[in-house]
Symmetry: C2
Subunit: 315 residues, 2 copies
Amino acid sequence: MAKFIFGVDIGGTSVKMGLFDEAGEMLEKWEIDTRKENAGENILPDIAASIKEKSEEKGIAVEDILGIGMGVPGPVTEDGRVLKCANLGWGIFSVADKVTELTGVKKVCVGNDANIAALGEQWRGGGRGFDSIVMVTLGTGVGGGVILNGKILTGATGAGGEIGHIMVNPKETRVCGCGKKGCLEQYSSATGLMRSAREAVAASDRPSMMREFEPEKLTGKEIFDAYKAKDEMATEVVEEFAEYLGLGLGQVAQVVNPQAFVIGGGVSKNGQCVADIVKEKFAKNVMFALKDTEFRLAELGNDAGMYGAVRMVLS
Amino acid sequence: MAKFIFGVDIGGTSVKMGLFDEAGEMLEKWEIDTRKENAGENILPDIAASIKEKSEEKGIAVEDILGIGMGVPGPVTEDGRVLKCANLGWGIFSVADKVTELTGVKKVCVGNDANIAALGEQWRGGGRGFDSIVMVTLGTGVGGGVILNGKILTGATGAGGEIGHIMVNPKETRVCGCGKKGCLEQYSSATGLMRSAREAVAASDRPSMMREFEPEKLTGKEIFDAYKAKDEMATEVVEEFAEYLGLGLGQVAQVVNPQAFVIGGGVSKNGQCVADIVKEKFAKNVMFALKDTEFRLAELGNDAGMYGAVRMVLS
């Protein structure tokens, strides 16, 4: 009898769900809303109901489900307890135990969303062929996940791989969302990149392709398009973004010496030039033994978390 | 029949050797010279001869030796190959295979010296009771070793835990021994601390207890003695040393989230106040989930490497 795995990635607005076969192939994917009201008490029951519904539709018995892998947006301990998920309204409890109770499925593996995305990319995406990678996701913030020998580095309090909050600029006066100052996320997230571009445009009258857009429409794509066209001001903006990212990833490499970095998130959609310039800046900031670290682009997009969730079940 | 392990820590001037029982207790220790001439070709034969001699003295047969653990001053891959040990004149070869050939002992485990010292401290020293620690050794340079779940984080090219070369000051103009600028090692090694103190003394006529010493006699001990006596200039010097170290260890914690840091090397001999001030600066530089990371002092001194070497054999 064929066996199945569910991969679930809980986000702040929707839950991504996938049905996988035991070889790790995705058979189907769908989404449900994340109902955050009442301290998020409906989220896990909604997921359990959706798993039940899909199982009935496909004629899958509970004993044919090898396991459920789940990603949550917050710190998670190795045994599947969340230590507060501000985004979902959750406190401290065992997600694994709760999901087993709701579904009858014994093997439930839970990880932090950034970490399982890293695991997914290492297993089936841009990090394929490497055992040890660091994934960095450039979106609203800068997320990170460290995979060593095919396993997530969770850390003592579930904060392993929180590389967005590495300090890269001791002179910064603005405060980051985390309460510190000078965090990598302030410069190298999509948000940080857009802010730098708007500031550069506003700071002078120098000509630039970036002036063709309303400030709020000047996103990563427009900035990188101008950079690719050798626009001088866009080049300065991208150089600064890459300097900070190269510096931060240099710190990471000095500690864990991965085989490769995998760059994901919206900014990475601008193509190989993103990996290239970050690698160039990185190489200036690391010891000789680290200079040949590979830089790859993520390939799984929003599915990475589901793949990583399934990988936890299968390993 | 009782079983034994040899723990060997190869340094640039001497090789520290220890005979351990299978419970990991040290029975005896001794040193031999490190003969570096002719590309260090005598080093391993000398060690093998010393192991043979000690075995004969104690009536230990080759089959009663569970294994030999070894530390070398350079990058080592997980399978025991060195990738150049500049200090010893060595190129690239398998230390493990060579030592097996010379001694007839099948199990030979080889690690980087800083990494095995970290493993020793985690097992039997200041990191006892924790599974995951980062050891930082403040001596001529700043060495590091990362232990996760009781295992050394070796890294893809043997450069895991090279935290002395994390960049902590983007404005630095002086070049570090590694060729980069602004490395942690430039400020927070014993050497860096002494340099800062000498510079502070030379830069003004302000009174300070540190003026009682000839510049070359102003070492960590004198600086910390003045700091403990609330000498103003010494306080500034120690604060700066700790600021950089707290910043660098903050970066490390954001990546690997250890349970504890263990501080070793000459500077740590100045007592708990070293751990206390570094923890204070560290806490300013990390996310909330990391602020309670423990700070301990190393306990095994120069024996840490031998203990770690033995631990590799026993695990």
